[in-house]
Amino acid sequence: MNNNPQTGPKTTRHALIRFLIVVAAVIGFVFYSYGWTVTEVDLDKPQEAQRQENVGNALRELLSPRIFTQERDVIEITASFLMTCGSSDVEIPDSVAHESGGIVTISPTCGEEGDVVDVTVSNFAALADTRIRWIPPEGQSRPREDLITEREEIVLDSTGSFSGQIEVPRIRGSEGQLHQVAIRSAFPSGPVELSDITQLTILRMVETIFMALLATSIAIPIASLISFFAARNLMRPIRLTVGKLFMAVLFFAIGAVAGASLLSGFGQFAARVGQGEEYGIVVGIIAPIVVVVLAIVGLRYLNPPTDKSKATLADTTAADHLRGMINAVLLTLLIVFAVGALAGFFVWLAAQLQVIGESVRPEFLKELGITREEIYPLNPFEWTQNATADGIKAIGTLLDIIGTLITLIMPIIAGVVTGISLSNVASQVATVPLRTLPKTLQHIMGSILGALVGAILFAVLAYLGMSAALFGLLVPIAAAIIAGNILSIIYTQMVTPPNPPPNRPRAHVMIASGLFWIGAVIAFVLAFNTLNVGRALVDGTLPPTTTSSILGVELFTYMVTSAGVGFVLCGIAGALVGTNSNFALGSTLYNLSRTALNTIRSIEPLIMGLVFVVWVGIGPFAGVLALTLHSIAALGKLYSEQVENIDPGPVEAIQSTGAGWLQTVVFAVIPQIIPPYIAFTMYRWDINVRMSTIIGFVGGGGIGLLLQQQINLLRYRDAGVAVLAIAIVVSFLDYTSAYIRERLT
């Protein structure tokens, strides 16, 4: 009889759970065990005598780095040995004396293969490194090891003496002939100096530290900018209406194309002005300053610092619009001109600095044409002159690189600046008309604008897709996301669930997400087939580059087809949501930047290094590029986590004063993140030094290249120097950065 009716089923359930746990544990253990097979763990190999000896030798050499060298005097004394006693009547002396005073005695002086011969050495230099070799009458000499110590090297005692035993080697057909026992002793003479490999290691280490410094410094501004987009707390509140978003994207695209084609010429012209090629260098220096001052005065006049008269609501007037447009034009032209002129000026200045730098260099060095790498004895004054010359020229080179880079990317700068200006003006002008649009027109406008934006977006994605097979998936994925959303929006609009999102019945949520996946899969398959992405994936071929003419413009058919897909899908989506619904722009940007950061971060710098070596050749530049790209992603993530960790109180307080997003970031966020940013930058530099020591293995320059060469040549003592240098520098940086981080956080 069961007193408690619940006990029965409860016990069964518990037993079942326990059984399942045991089964899971067994499966887990089997799974884990398989790992030991897969990774070929084998206890026999490390026990093989040959391997043990090899690793012992390698380790011993690695741990005996050739840091110093010292000139050596070498003495070789040979004593004769007759193979098979009595086979020849040559007189063989017991001991041989050398002019340096060293005496070598062997006993016996004749014998058979395998006999043991006593070797005594005396009156040599104390502690000299000595080896015994056996030199047969013909053929290669070979080292003989001392039977007592079982070592080839023999270190003489403090009186310069040694005695040991060797075995007579088995050498066929040498009976009746004289063999030689050679004692070769090298003893140091002259001062102890840094070895060649140490000097090379120092040079490469400097290179390595600079690689890390450069990669970190280039990554800092880019990563800081991205980190704001990858911070959830900053991005989540950013919303804007679909209409404004569409206007902004549309006009950004128009502005970008117009700016890149029309204004980049203007930018190049500004660069020539700055370089003094147009009107001489005097104008080159003055013109940018005048233009910037004039523009600042103009902007200041157009935009008073405070606007107290402004009504409570943002009722923009025609005058506001006009002001906004003049602002945009002025700012666009100003930025493009100023950037271009500055770039040109840098190039000019760089050329001057090269000349000035060279003129400072000591005369005799100029005549010799000596470079930095070569070591030449200089007195302190000459050394200072030479270093000044190198310094000035280095600044010149940096300015030249910056100036040339800006000139090269001028179309991009012009396009982006114009695009931003135009989209700002357009979305500002459109704000009020879009808001006051009647309901039906909102959806019609949404459809038109959405279709246009969709066509542009998908054309851009298709352009990317034409570059590599994997990127071909971008269009189907985008189509899937939009189509999925269309279906779930239709459902939500038709059914109108009773509660706002958090309390919506589970069934509604499940149906909506089910419809999302159905729509997504259908659109993915359709887009995939329409664009023939499968063929590219299987064959590795890219889409055909046939063109078709749209409104007199030649475009790739592939892009046109893809634009058509975007046109239809985004048109439908725009029509459904209308221009007045909100779009979570911030969350979208957050997800995009997080995905990009995570993807780039997951690619090891060594792999990036391989690609960059193909692009810019073997050397530290490839390493810098690889480390920079990886640092941007890694720092971007670390920085953004710091932004997410800030005290939200000040942000709330600044927002409550009526400050805008940008103002909130500048006044409430940035003051809080400066210490952790510095700390993480130090940390990253530390990591970059560590990484740049190995990036040389794939041709990225720095000490890794040296290390790899020495290892390949089996020069473990030289490799040991590089390894030691890495250990010293890395641990030094490790402690320094830890100390600084501790002080800051």
């Binding site: 405070t306 107290k308 409570t312 958090p502 409550s656 805008g660 003051p671």
Partner: protein, 252 residues
Amino acid sequence: MLEIKNLTKIYDNGFKALDNVSFTIPDGQFVALIGLSGSGKSTLLRCINRLIEPTEGQIIWNGLDLTAISDEDMRLVRRRMGMIFQQFNLVKRSKVITNVLAGRLGYMSPMYSLLNYFPAEDKQDALANLQRVGIGEQAYKRASELSGGQQQRVAIARALMQNPELMLADEPVASLDPATSHGVMKYLEDLNKEDGLSIICSLHFLSLARAYSDRVIALKDGKLEFDGPPELIDNVRFKEIYGEDAVEVGIN
């Protein structure tokens, strides 16, 4: 005049912080907001300036429905609503004067604030407001170097820079000792009496509400539990608001 109509806030996790709250505050009133922790006081204050988006209901301020306007318009409305907080919410690494000047950001063109530029008259105003709350000589110290009471006064000066009509105070004295608490409350009273600001101030101590407010609004589990002059809160009402086991403690 501030009119709250049927205000409800349900958080994403389903918690109902405000449940159909309605009341009207005429200009120039000092309202104390009381209730247990978690009763919805902070949510109510943040719904008024829409730091938190209300789920349902209306907030009508000077004839404008704040729940219906765009984010950009709301930003402009917030300029006239000062807010101070329990944790003061100063940017601790910035100077006191910078913290105070931040109160002007809503009136500034964003381009200028990127360059950290403020007009000379704003700087004078900032110093004058710091004088007013009695810490003029601390203007160029870091905010973190100030004591709690001083920090809250900086926060009041910051709010004053907005030239507000309404002051929202979220437990302004809950992190301060009794003597300092009265100091801060006196400044708020002063703003109410001399400048005619409306003040909505959430408080833990009923004694403070009795000493400074014209009117008490009590919340319990997100619902309006009491609305009337502080004198009407007797022992029975007190137990209704704070629960049967509560005992009133004073702060003098």
